[in-house]
């Protein structure tokens, strides 16, 4: 089993943090995992991304050329990475309609639907919740445990709630290959 993930969005949307949660949860699940951030001018503003590899054997290249999953938190990220994704794209419904990709698109209303507004600024956690619900690569309990390890107090509580909300947004489940 090897899963390659790209998480991308604007600087400040929690791209790197979402990736750290995934990597930490993968480690807690007994997988090998690598997390590779973009560290160029992106981190000083503009789009940022991180690349994750989750595997049941030692990770070879930590660089993701073709992703099994893309979490795209803004339109430029979707445009940049959708052609490099063979699998599942998780994005906002505002961007999804422009998505021209053979990948399966999970379109979420991350801002307003069903009380989503209380998770404003937590697009990263909502999309992460939806991603694990859809792919089954990580259990929600491991993701919650990962959040508890790397976030503190009130921030951790709201992150957990947003992940659970995202998880709930995705009905149908498919198993990880």
């Amino acid at each position: 089993m090897e899963y390659r993930i790209i998480i991308s969005g604007f600087g400040g949307q929690g791209v790197l943090f979402a990736g750290k949660v995934v990597a930490q949860a993968a480690m807690l699940s007994g997988y090998e995992a690598s997390w590779l951030p973009s560290y160029g001018p992106e981190m000083r503003g503009g789009t940022a991304n991180c690349q994750l590899v989750i595997s049941d054997k030692p990770v070879g290249s930590p660089v993701v050329r073709t992703a099994d999953v893309l979490i795209a938190m803004n339109m430029p990220s979707l445009t940049k990475f959708m052609d490099k994704t063979n699998g599942i794209i998780v994005t906002d419904e505002r961007f999804a309609k422009f998505c021209d990709s053979p990948a399966q698109v999970i379109s979420l209303n991350t801002d307003i639907c069903n009380g989503g507004a209380k998770f404003e600024g937590l697009t990263n956690m909502i999309m992460l919740g939806a991603m694990i619900a859809k792919t089954g690569i990580l259990g929600i309990s491991e993701v919650i445990a990962a959040i508890n390890r790397i976030a503190k107090g009130a921030a951790a509580a709201i992150d957990r709630a947003a992940v659970e909300y995202g998880w709930g947004c995705v009905g149908e489940r498919v198993c990880a290959s």
Binding site: K20, E32, L36, P37, Y39, G60, S61, P62
Partner: protein
């Protein structure tokens, strides 16, 4: 406890575990997390962290602390490493132990900040003046970033010389799980040569690099050369993967070796007898790894071709040595390395 750490953080944490007492640095991407970690954690562990006014100051502070017998480290990248070269030559000339970390980025000049392996010559052949060598270790994972840091401090003190960890932007920036509590043992060496106060000694210990008498200087240089030869006999280190029956061997170090390993696996799936030799010590270069006969070796690097020269020296014309490289911050491609292996297997590689 297993924890996710950046390679840069792992280096710093392992240095503190190794008993580093002084860290002198100056920020530069992509190695700044080493300084940041040290600034936060070294003082609370009884050490001194100092952000110098430049890389030149930092390396000369290393000279002072090493001369006084303390375990000391500095780190930099690209242009910062170039600035340190004069100081590194002085450290080597004064036989001072220290650990220097280079998290390589693209060059020359300011170059870029993306990962590179184009400082191989500078690290291995001596970027400063004079006859000297550094022991150079090349980690390929965050775990090795930590382990090799401990090894570097042990080797530096054992051989009384600077040891360099030659890393790159990916290894520095990426996170992987590391057991920071399960690192190799820290070795302790007496330093009767240190300029740490005269104490009970009859003579002053003087740390210097100036020898105006050519006979004396030659004697110093030759005795150091003897030490380098001993190191080359004792410390060549490398990792082999699927090499027992390999006809086409890819050789690569650091992060490139991980990409090459994936290409070797795919070549095996296609029925090509491919293997991987990953040099772990770049100085001393693992010449012994290339003793077996092969059909060809492909050297893959993130440079325009630097380690390939040492591979050619090791192979010494017994079979062809080919080169594949990307540089400037571009990464070697698994597909392209596989393509090289296939062409080498068909005898089409040039």
């Amino acid at each position: 406890m297993k924890q996710m750490m950046k390679g840069n953080e792992a280096v710093a944490a392992a240095a503190i575990y190794s008993g580093v007492k002084c860290f002198f640095g100056y920020p530069i991407t992509p190695q700044t997390e080493i300084s940041a970690y040290m600034a936060k954690h070294l003082p609370e562990n009884g050490g001194v962290f100092l952000q110098a006014e430049s890389e030149i100051s930092a390396i000369n502070m290393v000279y002072g602390a090493a001369g006084a017998g303390f375990r000391v480290m500095t780190s930099s990248s690209g242009p910062g490493m170039s600035l340190k070269q004069e100081g590194i030559s002085f450290l080597a000339g004064a036989d001072l132990p220290c650990v220097i970390v280079n998290v390589m980025r693209g060059g020359p000049g300011l170059g870029g900040i993306q990962p590179s392996q184009a400082d191989y010559f500078q690290a291995v052949k001596g970027g400063g003046h004079g006859d000297y060598r550094l022991i150079v270790l090349a980690p390929a994972s965050v775990r090795e970033m930590a382990e090799f840091t401990v090894r570097a401090f042990n080797l530096a003190d054992k051989w009384r010389m600077p040891v360099m960890i030659l890393s790159d932007g990916i290894l520095g920036q990426m996170m992987e799980a590391v057991e920071i509590d399960e690192l190799p043992a820290v070795e302790h060496y007496e330093k009767p040569w240190a300029a740490s106060g005269r104490g009970e000694r009859k003579e002053h210990n003087i740390i210097k690099t100036l020898y105006l008498d050519p006979e004396e200087l030659e004697r110093m240089v030759f005795s150091r050369e003897e030490r380098y030869k001993e190191i080359a006999r004792e410390h060549q280190d490398w990792e082999e993967y699927l090499c027992d029956d390999a006809e086409i061997v890819v050789t690569a170090y650091g992060i490139t070796a991980r990409i090459a390993r994936a290409a070797v696996e795919r070549a095996r799936e296609k029925g090509i007898k491919a293997g991987l030799i990953r040099p772990i010590t770049l100085y001393p270069f693992p010449v012994k790894a290339f003793e077996n006969e092969r059909r060809a070796v492909i050297c893959a690097e993130m440079s325009a071709g630097q380690m390939v020269e040492d591979v050619r020296l090791a192979v010494n014309g017994r079979y062809p040595v080919y080169f594949y490289g990307r540089t400037g911050g571009m990464l070697p491609d698994e597909e392209e390395i596989l393509n090289c292996i296939e062409r080498a297997a068909k005898g089409e590689m040039v």
